[in-house]
């Protein structure tokens, strides 16, 4: 895992992490509770506008494409061409290809949901410093030890890549030939062992370091990071959550027969 946070001063960057999370939960709620294409498209439009406001639409689009493309291709092939739920309406036909409308619409629905989910997550992560996110979550009851592990995990990739570079440098300096494709792949074998052993060997020292820095000390804790919050945001968060609950309740009561 590695942080994808990109620093900025947009309104979205400045929102309290929990406000963003509440918004994200509502979007997810819409995606999965209201399977109406128009509503989902509207929700997606809202997320897209937010991304534009935050100044990161390109980043969100690129990253979501990388994540979703393989999935989407297989989805359309399978649902649209091979195994449509029902073969009632043909969307179009060529001598060697038939697209069925039902399958296509189903795939489109799934696509919208997946896009909502990934765009939402990416937008929150890109506009929120991981430390702020964890601090906010700890504020609503996330255990500190879990928060610590999350933050360590984020720094793990740069740490491991620095280790891997150093190990490779040492091995090459001791005559290990890593030039050429096959040799490079083969040189991964002597790399992986020391990489893992090295990281594990540090665990006890890390535990000692945490003790030294009073991580397990009794008494109340304070935080350096101050999360800007406002009355309006607090009200908005509660509002968003009420809408979400209402949506879920409605889905299984009033709207039950309609959808």
């Amino acid at each position: 895992m590695q942080s994808i946070y990109s620093a900025g001063t947009s309104p979205l960057h400045r929102l309290h992490p929990l406000t963003k999370l509440a918004g994200f939960l509502l979007v997810v709620g819409v995606a999965f509770v209201l399977p109406v294409l128009a509503v989902q498209a509207l929700a997606l439009l809202c997320v897209a506008i937010s991304a534009a406001v935050a100044g990161v639409p390109g980043r969100v689009a690129r990253m979501s494409l990388v994540i979703l493309l393989p999935l989407l291709v297989s989805l359309f092939v399978i649902q649209g061409l091979l195994f449509p739920p029902t073969r009632t309406t043909m969307l179009f036909e060529t001598p060697w290809l038939t697209i069925w409308a039902d399958g296509f619409l189903f795939a489109l629905g799934v696509l919208l949901r997946l896009l909502l989910l990934t765009w939402g997550v990416l937008l929150v992560l890109i506009t929120t410093h991981p430390a702020d996110l964890v601090a906010a979550l700890e504020g609503i009851g996330l255990p500190r030890a879990v928060g610590y592990v999350l933050l360590v995990a984020i720094q793990l990739v740069p740490d491991m890549s620095a280790r891997a570079t150093a190990i490779l440098e040492a091995q090459r300096s001791r005559g290990l030939n890593t030039d050429g494709f096959v040799r490079r792949i083969r040189s991964l074998v002597p790399l992986i062992g020391p990489l893992i052993v090295g990281a594990l060997a540090d665990v006890e020292e890390r535990a000692m370091a945490l003790e030294e820095r009073a991580f397990t000390a009794s008494g109340p804790k304070t935080t350096l990071r101050e999360l800007a919050d406002s009355g309006a945001q607090r009200v908005a968060r509660v509002g968003l959550m009420i809408v979400l609950v209402a949506l879920i309740v409605a889905r299984f009561t009033v709207l039950r027969g309609l959808l």
Binding site: P158, D159, A166, R174, E212, E226
Partner: protein, 563 residues
């Protein structure tokens, strides 16, 4: 009342054959600064861990005795509750970074958050800690993007910010450059004036002698002697125990034998004492008009500054090399250097001068952006690192990522095996290297089960076993005890006698002076000075003094044979 009171402590780690501490008693009054010295394995780190409450409740084992630190019984209290009373800075800075904070500033605040210090006070304390450790300019950097010395300062800052009444430091200077080392001594002295009690373990005896009010000598888990530095560091038992004396004391001893230090005057333990004593001698001689002492103790200066022998063919040619990292930082800006057979070269310079970048050019790990590096008959731009490694062996500064075998012996086999030596040759090279660094006893141990200083020797032995024409050592003495440093010095002289070249990157100028014959100063990506030690001009000495300090022997104006 004593801030640290240890009574009859005996402690044996689980599965250890003999106790790490035995029948140890020690009292440290509040506000005192005490230095603990001893050879590797004497129990210094265990004593530090005990005083900080990590023994016996974190590192478990068989414990007896009574340990009271800042009024708290170490055995009865949990480590978590002792942190309000005592702070520990361990010797390995890297592993003490929390890993959960993204900037230096936040890392220093981490401990205060855990102690529940109010935010405004927290910021104030962090600012102070960064200021006294000279880290203000690095406050927004990631802790992992710092050099070893900077990480060491960071961990010290993080501990100081917690304001422990008792501060324990285990080899705090191992990775610091000379100027930073002096700054740390000033800082610690100031803390004791404000009532902090400090116990530190240290290999640099000179530093300990300057700083400590009291010295305790540890040997096999026992305190063999303790007292004022002046008394302890002139005790001949220290020589017998392999701990040695501080350099000023040894230099004065040689000076006494040469008639430059009166027999009746006690030997000094600090550089200041040495310099004052020598100048007093000089004044007395001048007054009594005895002899031409002036001529004898002034450093012999040859007429020409460069006394290198041009007869030898250089093995490594670095020619007008420039190198810029992908980020655009130009680390080398036109460096030329030739290393001849049998030369012993010191590469010195402040942190970030480009020394490590230069070292990585010597075997082609980095390729010059402009200019050329030739190793034997190879151009590093076209030859593989593996081929260059036949000629140049490099031991890197960070020991952590250089060892990858299951036993020390396998570790040593790795290099020669890659170079294609026969099985018999490999075994002979490995045996030779094990003996050269005194590692025979640990040959079958897993490298990670060894303490860091021994791991450093293993890393050196592993490169030595490749039998290259050039051996490059990056900070080889960090954390080594006197005996290991002496072994290393002997090894370097042996290699040179066999016609092999040694290049050492080091902050330890005294070691460079004793073990090496040529000095190269790198600063801002350029070579500012390249000379034999014996041919330094007074301008060059001044430049060295300003950038990296001078060896004590040169400062004292004593002949090279004394060092």
């Amino acid at each position: 009342m004593s801030a640290i009171s240890l009574r009859d402590i005996t402690f044996t780690y689980v599965e250890a054959a003999r106790p790490a501490l035995s029948n140890l008693s020690l009292d440290v009054p509040q506000g005192q600064i005490i230095g603990v010295v001893g050879a590797a394995g004497a129990g210094k780190t265990t004593l530090c861990a005990l005083c900080a409450g990590f023994v016996p409740n974190f590192y478990q084992g068989d414990f007896s005795g009574v340990a009271i630190v800042d009024g708290q019984n170490v055995v009865e209290q949990q480590v978590a509750d002792l942190v309000r009373h005592v702070g520990l800075v361990s010797s390995d800075a890297f592993s003490q970074i929390s890993g959960a904070r993204f900037t230096v500033f936040e890392e220093v605040a981490f401990g205060l958050e855990n102690l529940g210090v109010p935010r405004a006070e927290m910021i104030e304390r962090v600012e102070w800690a960064l200021q006294v450790t000279h880290l203000q300019d690095l406050r927004d950097r990631s802790p992992y993007a710092l050099s070893g010395g900077q990480q060491q300062r960071l961990v010290i800052a993080a501990t100081l910010a917690m304001r422990p009444p008792v501060l324990v430091l285990d080899e705090p200077t191992a990775q610091l450059d000379p100027h930073t080392t002096e700054q740390l001594a000033d800082l610690l002295r100031e803390l004791t004036h404000n009532g902090t009690t400090i116990l530190f373990a240290e290999q640099r005896l000179e530093w300990a002698a300057e700083l400590a009010e009291r010295i305790a000598v540890l040997h096999e888990g026992r305190i063999v002697t303790e007292g004022a530095p002046q008394d302890v560091f002139t005790d001949t038992r220290l020589l017998d125990l392999g701990i040695g004396w501080p350099r000023p004391t040894l230099l004065a001893l040689h000076a006494r034998d040469a008639g430059l230090w009166p027999r009746e005057r006690p030997l000094p333990v600090t550089t200041k004492g040495l310099l004052e004593g020598l100048s007093a001698t000089k004044d007395e001689r001048r007054r009594t008009d005895v002899g031409q002492i002036e001529d004898r103790d002034v450093h012999p200066l040859p007429a020409h500054p460069l006394t290198r022998l041009p007869a030898h063919e250089a093995i490594v040619h670095v020619e007008h090399v420039r190198f810029a990292y992908p980020g655009g930082v130009e680390a080398l800006r036109g460096v030329s250097l030739a290393i001849e057979a049998g030369e012993r070269v010191a590469l010195v310079g402040p942190n970030g001068a480009g020394k490590s970048t230069l070292v990585r050019h010597l075997n082609g790990l980095l390729k010059p952006s402009a200019g050329q590096v030739r190793v034997a008959d190879l151009d590093t731009r076209t030859a593989t690192v593996a081929r260059c490694a036949r000629h140049v062996g490099i031991v890197f500064q960070n020991i952590r990522n250089q060892l990858f075998a299951r036993t020390v012996r396998d570790e040593l086999r790795f290099g020669p095996r890659n170079l294609g030596y026969s099985a018999a040759q490999i075994e002979s090279l490995v045996d030779h290297s094990l003996d050269a660094l005194g590692l025979r006893d640990v040959a079958d141990t897993h490298p990670y089960d060894l303490p860091l200083p021994l791991r450093r020797l293993v890393a050196i032995a592993a490169v030595l076993a490749m039998d290259t024409e050039v051996l490059v050592l990056d900070e080889p003495t960090a954390g080594l005890d006197t005996a290991a440093v002496a072994r290393l010095t002997a090894l370097i002289h042996d290699l040179a006698a066999q016609g092999k070249s040694v290049v050492v990157v080091s902050h330890d100028l005294d070691f460079c002076y004793e073990a090496l014959q040529r000095i190269v100063l790198v600063k801002d990506g350029m070579i500012h000075l390249d000379s034999a030690w014996d041919a330094l001009t007074s301008d060059q000495r001044a430049l060295l003094d300003e950038t990296v300090t001078l060896p004590i022997a040169i400062r004292a104006g004593l002949p090279r044979s004394f060092a």
